[in-house]
């Protein structure tokens, strides 16, 4: 029978249950920090004319800044790093599935936390660039009595983002388990390249794009 549960797997450290996905996320963060230190050391030797590794880094950073500019407009420079952070974090905590470790984003707590991060980012940016008065005015934009509905829509957005990411990763995993049960050989290898790699990439892109779109809606000028 399949091992399917939406509840967090327990993991105890000194008698305190912190949850298995949290430990996976910590390990991924540690690995990413080590990677980042290497990149930081390499960044000291960057030259005017890029070649090799520097090209990759510049391509990623410029790509996300251009993408953010097309969504958020002129306030994009403070939002773009968030988007790249989301991309890296979600991609690596999910792609770890390929090494046989259950991904951290298969836990609904993790994805809700990510949605909440995005919600806080959007609102802080909105308050920074528009102020409280401007924000309320923008929310009551077409007619004043639309305010409660607009606030509700804004508050539902992180929940929907969290459930979307969770559902996609979870359902991908379940489908792969079912495929493994029916065809133990060859077929899973073909399907896994979609469900475990490409699908994740699409979801990561969607998460970053939705964050940027909501931020763009929140900070847009009248």
């Amino acid at each position: 029978m399949l091992d399917i549960s939406i509840y967090q797997k327990p993991f105890e450290i000194f008698g305190v249950n912190v949850g298995f996905s949290v430990v996976v996320a910590w390990c991924v963060i540690a690995a990413l920090i080590v990677l980042l230190l290497f990149v930081r050391r390499a960044a000291g030797r960057f030259q005017e004319v890029p070649h090799g590794f520097q090209n990759v880094i510049e391509f990623a950073v410029e790509g996300i800044y251009d993408f953010a500019r097309s969504k958020v407009g002129r306030h994009a420079d403070s939002v773009a790093p968030f988007a790249l952070t989301f991309i890296f974090y979600i991609f690596f905590t999910t792609i770890i599935d390929l090494f046989g470790i259950p991904p951290a984003t298969e836990d609904i707590n993790c994805t809700f936390a990510l949605g909440l991060c995005s919600f806080i980012m959007v609102n802080v940016e909105a308050l920074r660039f528009k102020g409280l008065k401007g924000r309320i005015k923008a929310l009551a934009a077409p007619v004043p009595y639309a305010l409660p509905i607009r606030i509700l829509t804004d508050c539902v957005a992180p929940v929907s983002m969290g459930i979307r990411l969770f559902a996609n990763v979870f359902v991908g995993g379940v489908i792969m388990q079912l495929v493994y049960m029916v065809f133990p050989l060859v077929v899973p290898a073909i399907l896994a390249s979609y469900f475990n790699v490409l699908h994740i990439g699409i979801q990561v892109f969607i998460f970053a794009m939705l964050s940027l779109t909501f931020a763009g809606e929140a900070v847009e000028q009248e």
């Binding site: 029978m1 549960s5 979307r164 559902a167 359902v171 939705l210 779109t213």
Partner: protein, 80 residues
Amino acid sequence: MSAIGIIAIASAIAVLCGAASAIGMGLATSRAVDAIARQPEASGKINTSFTFGLIMMETIAIFALLVAILLIFVLAPTVS
């Protein structure tokens, strides 16, 4: 009717949600292709909003699939 049978019918009804999202995707795609054929120079902007709409519809289908999977694999073992 046994509880398992009712759960099976419930998950089938949940997956019906996919039909709605398929209809929505078809409508959106036909309109997007129309718009691109009429104004090929605006295809970039059309593509962006089209993708956004598709994501929303695809999410509904995935939610339905999640509900169906949870009904079968999480609820069904608790009653049997």
